[in-house]
């Protein structure tokens, strides 16, 4: 094995080994557990950054392991996997810090952090997967490792949510498996590559390939919460806040969106999809999801549920970008939203968790004047919310700008219309929260004030959202610089002939 292969393996092991050790740790060793967690996360970020640099300079990272004839496990570091891996590992460090603060003093922490670490391992595995079989492997393992986190509270309600999550996820996985095997029997083993499979298959197997594409999108669409496959997501809100942050911003929903990207760009390839004529279908589903999620978000009074429906809506921007796969600008918009949505949504969930953990606030109607009690938290929340609406100079604006440009370049006015309506709806469900929090008057005592100290809440809860909120603005301001999510996405798109 050369150093690149060792690097890929150690990227996976840097969270897998701490996870396994943590499972064996007794409950009361919380300091050792925290040290292991944080060290693992930092090591992972360092290793992923080394990989990023290698990828930028054209080094090829690849591990192949043949299982049976025609089935290979392939780990592969290409620019796209570097994007997702970097996002996950950075946000993971912050979520870990946050989770340590959030779960202080609660039971079963070894169990929780063990699965937490396995979960990041699997997410990175999804990022590095180099073919459909490997992707499927990690995709199914993601379901298994997130399930214990969803039912962590152990209540009847969380068990029901967990059961529902499993039914959705496994059904999606089954559709995916069926599609992968079918595709493989038609075109042979498919590695993710910029070209997709040879277009000669389209003449002979056109109908089957369309069907397989739909099944594949259903398979990943369950996790990406495309309407009507989104039912599990709002229910899964019963999980602890760090888990919600993780499900929405980093791991599960993102894995689904990342799957859509891989299928469109690397399995089929934009040219083949244009020939098959299925892209408008994806665009339609994405648009419906965007509007439906926003409208449902409007109706929610529970803060976390509103954020959940907002996720459903926002993640579909990525699918929308992919449905215009022949337009480089739209593809840039979709890809960069993978990062931007993660940053914004994780900020919002951290803040919602702070409100619940510090003051017992779960409902928007309880938020009157909360910004005076928790100014930093609400400042971070406001940055995230404004980003979601798409106000410059936040990153949300950058994504929408590129998506809109791509839509115009393709001559699809409806894309711009969808974006405009969606932004309007975003404003409708976020701005009232902000006005309430900043300008409202506190009428009754906080539902359950739990923390009184020097800062507005525990430091470990306060710092992560401030950092992500800072990045939301900074990455928007320097979007055009040499080093930014946007710059990296441009580098990715240069690799495709669109």
């Amino acid at each position: 094995m050369n150093w690149g292969q060792w690097l890929l393996v150690s990227i996976l092991l840097s969270s897998f080994i701490p996870g396994i050790i943590i499972f064996g740790l007794p409950e009361e060793k919380h300091r050792l557990r925290t040290v292991l967690n944080i060290c693992g996360s930092i090591a992972k970020i360092a290793l992923v950054l080394i990989m990023d640099i290698g990828v930028y300079f054209g080094h090829i990272f690849e591990i192949r392991l043949s299982i049976i004839p025609g089935v290979e496990l392939l780990l592969n570091g290409d620019p796209l996997s570097a994007l997702f891996a970097t996002l996950s590992s950075v946000l993971w460090l912050l979520t870990t810090v946050y989770a340590v603060g959030y779960l202080e003093g609660s039971p079963n922490r070894s169990h929780f952090f063990g699965y937490f670490s396995l979960c990041v391992t699997v997410t990175i595995g999804i990022a590095l997967a180099g073919n459909l079989v490997t992707f499927l492997l990690f995709y199914e393992m993601l379901t298994l490792t997130t399930y214990p986190l969803v039912i962590h509270r152990g209540t009847e309600k969380s068990q029901r949510a967990g059961g529902n999550y499993l039914i959705y996820a496994f059904s999606g996985g089954a559709a995916f498996l069926f599609a992968v095997v079918s595709l493989q029997t038609i075109v042979g083993p498919v590695d993710f590559s910029a070209a997709g499979f040879p277009s000669s298959f389209i003449e002979s197997h056109g109908a089957a390939l369309i069907l397989i594409f739909i099944l594949l999108i259903i398979g990943v669409g369950v996790k990406a919460a495309l309407v009507p496959l989104h039912g599990w997501l709002p229910q899964a809100m019963v999980a602890p806040a760090p888990v919600s942050a993780l499900l929405h911003a980093v791991a599960v929903v993102k894995a689904g969106a990342f799957g859509i990207i891989r299928i469109v760009l690397d399995v089929y390839g934009p040219q083949n999809l244009l020939l098959l004529g299925v892209l408008p279908l994806l665009g339609g589903v994405a648009s419906i999801t965007i509007l439906y999620g926003s409208i449902r978000a409007l109706q929610q009074d529970d803060l976390k549920r509103r954020l959940a429906f907002s996720t459903i809506s926002q993640v579909s921007y990525i699918a929308l970008g992919m449905s215009l796969a022949d337009q480089p600008l739209a593809v840039i918009g979709g890809l960069v939203h993978l990062v931007h949505q993660g940053l914004m949504k994780i900020t919002l969930f951290f803040c919602a968790g702070n409100l619940a953990e510090t003051l017992g606030i779960h409902r928007i109607s309880e938020m009157n004047g909360v910004a005076r009690r928790m100014p930093f938290t609400m400042a971070a929340f406001s940055v995230g919310a404004l980003g979601m609406i798409g106000i410059p100079p936040t990153v949300g604006f950058v994504s929408k700008w590129y998506l809109g440009l791509g839509g115009l370049a393709a001559g699809n006015w409806w894309v711009v219309a969808v974006l405009a309506v969606s932004s309007l709806l975003n404003a409708c469900y976020f701005l009232p929260i902000l006005t309430r929090a900043w300008f409202g008057k506190q009428q009754e005592p906080w539902p359950e004030e739990q923390y009184i100290g020097r800062f507005e809440t525990r430091l470990m809860l306060l710092v992560p959202p401030l950092i992500t909120a800072f990045i939301v603005i900074a990455a928007g301001v320097v979007a055009n610089a040499q080093v930014s999510p946007l710059a990296w996405v441009r580098f990715i798109v240069r690799g495709y002939t669109l």
């Binding site: 049976i68 199914e140 298994l144 399930y147 152990g154 068990q159 039914i167 089954a174 095997v181 029997t185």
Partner: protein
């Protein structure tokens, strides 16, 4: 002495003789039973590894007992499938031996019923050794009548083991099991009579070369198949299995579900696809596939409906056995995957996963004193390793990657979609989904620690109960990643005729 050289075929006598001797010793020295059995299980594993080495170096081998050539003498032979089954038996057997030790010493430590449990243990070890000898003999036999003898040995010792727990339900179930097993053996024996009358040979190698298609052979094949199917518990002949497996002692359940049903299936498969391939028509294969598909779905639905953990696991066996038969109609796919590798993978993965699951269920039973699914909450707090083992075994049964079950299902899917028989693929996928429901119905209970739950400390005996289950579960999980090893053994050892028949190896 040339007998003890690496290349000597005489080694293959050991897997049969050693457990037999150990069984006799267990009768004689009833206070050293575990040591004797453990020694036998370990030596068995070593010898099987040696035989595998032999196979990889020299290819398939034959051993003529006492130097008599067939059709007069008794012949043993090794080839790829036989060795993989032997390996499966040796590995799970060793784990089950360790587990049984923990199981009995835990039960004997309970002063109320110590006498009864001691008696159970005294009978368990010799019977288990006899069963092991029978299984090894079955996999090595190269002669129809020897197969009959080993089938009887397996059937009688298995039924006696199932009766050990002594509860009325288990006595009834094991009695039924015994009758079914005897009926199966008798039918099989009738088949042999027909075979012998029409051909005058019993050696499998000689029968293979006959390739005759007369009425005698057909009748013989039907009778033998029905006998073996009865023992394999293919739907609708599965009625005896769930009560017998669920009411037995936990180590016995593991043995019955993981190994015993595989024995008769293995012989059936040999008869159909190696010895008399030309006699079998495609409609017959489709019919078997249909029965298998019904078994997969019916077994899984029944498993979902059970209220007791061990019954649930037993019905899951009915369902998983169905997958083996779905491979039948796909056997003649041109240029496809060798059908041996499909069934071997499913069988290996199921053996490891199912024995791990029965062990875990047994540990939970010992710990709580019951196995009602709705009252399982909080087990994770005291038995984390057992719950983990249950979960991993479940992953393999559901056929999620990277487990051995996944590779088996992948091969099935590829074969069925590659030959445009997509309905089998639908059954396979639906079966996996149903499996995920029954696995997680229990898992969600095991995982949750209710509020105000007081921790019941696990006792030191539990170490021998927990780790063998975890080891087997991990083997079934990583079997998928190491899939090239069993395939390598298979490729080395399949007889040429089978290779031609299944469409050639890549």
């Amino acid at each position: 002495m040339t007998v003890f050289q690496f290349s000597s075929p005489a080694w293959m006598v050991c897997p049969v003789i050693l457990p037999l001797i150990a069984g006799l010793l267990c009768f004689l020295f009833s206070h050293r039973t575990f040591a004797i059995a453990l020694a036998a299980a370990l030596t068995n594993l070593l010898v099987v590894c040696l035989l595998t080495g032999q196979l990889l170096v020299f290819g398939p081998m034959r051993c003529h007992m006492g130097g008599w050539q067939p059709p007069l003498g008794i012949t043993l032979r090794t080839d790829g499938p036989a060795l993989l089954m032997l390996l499966m038996t040796a590995v799970t057997g060793l784990a089950i031996t360790l587990y049984a030790r923990g199981y009995f010493s835990y039960r004997i430590s309970d002063p109320r019923r110590a006498g009864r449990h001691q008696r159970q243990q005294r009978y368990f070890w010799p019977l288990w050794m006899l069963l092991l000898a029978g299984l090894n003999g079955l996999f090595l036999s190269n002669d129809v009548f020897n197969v009959y003898v080993t089938l009887e040995l397996i059937g009688i010792s298995a039924a006696s083991l199932a009766a050990l727990s002594g509860k009325p339900a288990s006595l009834l179930a094991s009695f039924r099991y015994l009758l079914v097993s005897l009926l199966g053996s008798l039918t099989y024996l009738f088949g042999i009579v027909f075979l012998y009358r029409s051909n005058g040979v019993l050696d499998l190698g000689l029968l293979q070369n006959l390739a005759a298609n007369g009425l005698g052979i057909r009748t013989a094949l039907v009778l033998m198949s029905v006998g073996l199917l009865l023992k394999t518990a293919l739907f609708p002949l599965h009625f005896w299995l769930p009560p017998a497996h669920a009411n037995a002692l936990a180590p016995v359940s593991a043995i019955l579900s993981a190994l015993v049903v595989k024995g008769s299936f293995y012989m059936l498969f040999r008869f159909w696809f190696e010895i008399f391939p030309s006699t079998i028509t495609q409609p017959t294969l489709n019919f078997m596939g249909t029965l298998g598909a019904v078994a997969v779905l019916w077994g899984a639905v029944q498993a979902i409906r059970q209220h007791r953990l061990k019954l649930m696991v037993a019905y899951s066996t009915v369902s998983q056995l169905g997958y083996l038969f779905i491979a039948f109609p796909l056997a003649r796919v041109d240029g496809g995957i060798p059908v041996w590798s499909i069934v071997i993978f499913i069988a290996l993965a199921h053996a490891c996963a199912k024995s791990a699951m029965f062990m875990a269920a047994g540990t939970v039973f010992l710990h709580l004193g019951h196995d009602r699914i709705k009252d399982l909450s909080g087990v994770r707090a005291s038995l984390p390793i057992t719950v983990f083992a249950y979960g991993i075994a479940g992953v393999s049964l559901m056929g999620l990657p990277p487990s051995g079950g996944f590779v088996g299902k992948w091969l099935l899917l590829t074969a069925s979609l590659g030959s445009s028989q997509w309905w089998w693929a639908l059954v396979v996928i639906t079966g996996s989904l149903l499996a995920s429901i029954y696995v997680f119905r229990v898992m969600s209970r095991l995982f949750v620690i209710p509020e105000g739950f007081s921790l019941k400390k696990s006792e030191p005996h539990f170490r021998l109960l927990e780790w063998p289950a975890l080891a087997l579960a991990l083997i079934s999980l990583f079997l998928g990643l190491a899939a090239s090893w069993p395939l390598h053994i298979l490729v080395h050892g399949t007889t040429t005729l089978a290779q031609v028949f299944v469409g050639g190896l890549p």
